[in-house]
Symmetry: C2
Subunit: 364 residues, 2 copies
């Protein structure tokens, strides 16, 4: 456990901090765009720099399948490969492997599964997941965990939790890349008792940060919010707290108020491609006919290239005729929305006016 993280300001349970990584400081709260295959879909690394992204997430499972972690290492690591000079967090591959319920077999040592690319038999263990992340050279490596389904019975939750703890111990002693931080993952579903128990087990281990996994996997949002409200403030104060795979702008604001520091989610980029464009307090659907004749930008005052330069009518046209440029402009807009929302929350924490900021951002 390093002293890489410092809390600089507080507002209620919320914190503004700085996490030092191999590739510079990350100011928290922070949203991490998801670059599954070493690219945030439709965007170049220069676009993410211009958007002010401080850290991106890349997927260990996908990159291990293609192009392969050894190749990435031989090409100078993931930063060189995707030409991204700032921080990278890699997930452990656990979530992807466990999502493929039909294609995997768990034992106490690890998971055997079939590649989604060519069907070949593959195996991930705590040690190999950490070794792959060391090859990728990410700034933050996630422990290999078992992520049960949201509707799993309590016995399954317990078994997954216990296995995740045993695997976490093995991850914590694996050799990381030079200067690589390691985060542990807390499971336990939506059961507050199990979550509390597992939080204690993971907190004991010398991880540089602690994450909540297994949320936003199908349970109702209010259930997820209740877990975060309860567990967030009890996560280790001196370490960064990461809520994995969450969520909507409202989810982010609620979780920040509960003391969460880090987020990742495909929502801004996936929703963009599907026509959902975020505006303050809600979203528009660019597929709606009303936008076809609108000379307005997606959102007045937004700093993104789509809003500075183009009308809703143009975006609606690109969407309807399935032009590739639509994905890029829509993704730039939604990521700008997320990143500036979270930057604004950080400023509000520093200025001790987070509740007002949350109320203001929730109004349309």
């Amino acid at each position: 456990m390093s002293d890489a993280f410092v809390v600089q300001a507080r507002c209620g349970e919320a914190r503004a901090g700085v996490l030092q990584t191999n590739h510079g400081p990350v100011e928290t709260p922070v949203f991490m765009p998801v670059g599954t295959q070493a690219t945030v879909k439709s965007l170049a690394s220069g676009d993410l720099e211009a958007l002010g992204a401080q850290i991106v997430l890349a997927n260990t499972y996908h990159l291990a399948m293609r192009p392969g972690a050894r190749l990435v290492r031989d090409l100078g690591g993931l930063h060189a490969f995707m030409a991204w000079p700032r921080a990278i967090l890699t997930d452990s591959g656990g979530y992807q492997v466990f999502s493929q319920q039909e294609r995997r077999k768990i034992d106490d040592d690890g998971v055997t599964f079939h590649s989604h690319v060519d069907g070949s038999s593959q195996r991930l263990t705590p040690e190999s997941a950490m070794a792959i992340q060391a090859d990728l050279g990410s700034d933050i490596a996630m422990a290999f965990d078992e992520c049960p389904a949201s509707d799993a019975p309590r016995d399954d939750l317990c078994r997954a939790m216990e296995r995740t703890t045993r695997w976490a111990r093995r991850c914590a002693v694996a050799t990381p890349a030079q200067g690589q931080l390691r985060f542990g993952i807390v499971q336990g579903g939506t059961d507050l008792g199990l979550r509390t128990e597992h939080l204690a087990a993971i907190t004991e281990l010398p991880f540089d940060g602690v994450a909540l996994g297994g949320l936003s996997v199908g349970e109702p949002p209010e259930t997820m919010h209740a877990v975060v409200r309860e567990i967030g403030p009890r996560m280790p104060d001196a370490r960064p707290r990461y809520l994995m795979g969450v969520g909507t702008p409202a989810d982010l604001l609620a979780a920040i108020a509960s003391g969460i520091d880090m987020f990742d989610c495909v929502m801004p980029t996936r929703a963009a491609r599907n026509g959902r464009l975020f505006v303050r307090g809600g979203h528009i659907n660019i597929a709606n006919a009303v936008h076809c004749t609108s000379a307005l930008p997606i959102e007045a005052g937004c700093a993104c290239e789509a809003c500075r330069r183009y009308s809703r009518a143009y975006l609606a046209h690109l969407f309807r005729v399935k032009e590739i440029l639509y994905c890029r402009l829509a993704s730039l807009h939604n990521l700008e929305h997320y990143l500036s929302l979270v930057r604004g929350a950080r400023l509000a924490i520093v200025q001790r006016r987070l509740p007002e900021y949350v109320a203001q951002q929730s109004r349309g």
Copy 2:
């Protein structure tokens, strides 16, 4: 016929000129990226500015179908719609309509055809093609022509030619948008006699420029080169000469040497999407396994974002996993290749060393 065009320098039959448009000067020889649906596929208008594109081509037929020329006009014209501050040339829609051999019916007044979008019956005439282009507000409108197949019998070529002449006369008297230039189109297939005859007929009309249509539509490249070599130098000296829909880098250099000033082609962007990336004297295919491990850029010294920032290995990865970003980076590279090739040719004309430049660019 305006005095918008001035020849500034010559080298053999080749010319370096400037064409004044409503949206600034266009230095010729010039390559026009193709923005069929009001976007050069995968690129934003800001990307094209950064690449130094001076003029883009947009397709009347596609834009008339979606989103409709009246809507574009009501939104301030095509320049405002696609946020492109420089010149735009629109084709007449003739080529697209005549490509749909199964779906159209020609009479002396115009063409009735079925929309490729919804199958609805549509009609284009010389007058409506010019009216649509006036609504779009392009800087250069093309006359509505009949483009016969490359293997059409001589009688069909003659009939198409004569009809194109009658239609050209009607286009020449239609009311253009304020300041809009109009170009006529010479047909005649690969028959030098017919080409010569039709060139005379079109030259007679008060068009601001003269184009060669109906080439690069399936005939062997050497046949096309022979036509351009013969006809190019005999096109009106005082007007810009435009070779439509051509071609490879070698085609462009050969045509420039034959006195052609303007080009458009989907090749750089379409080839990019298919994995073909142009380098001096040839191309590489990014699908080839050898590139998967290469830390080299596509082409050393190239100024495009793909070459400045990424390796062939990264592009090969994006191509294989079908990431959208691949299309953007590959299109940026191929357009940079085309645009800088033609800029170089212009400079070589001014410096009276075009043959040396052509020889140098043809070497690998």
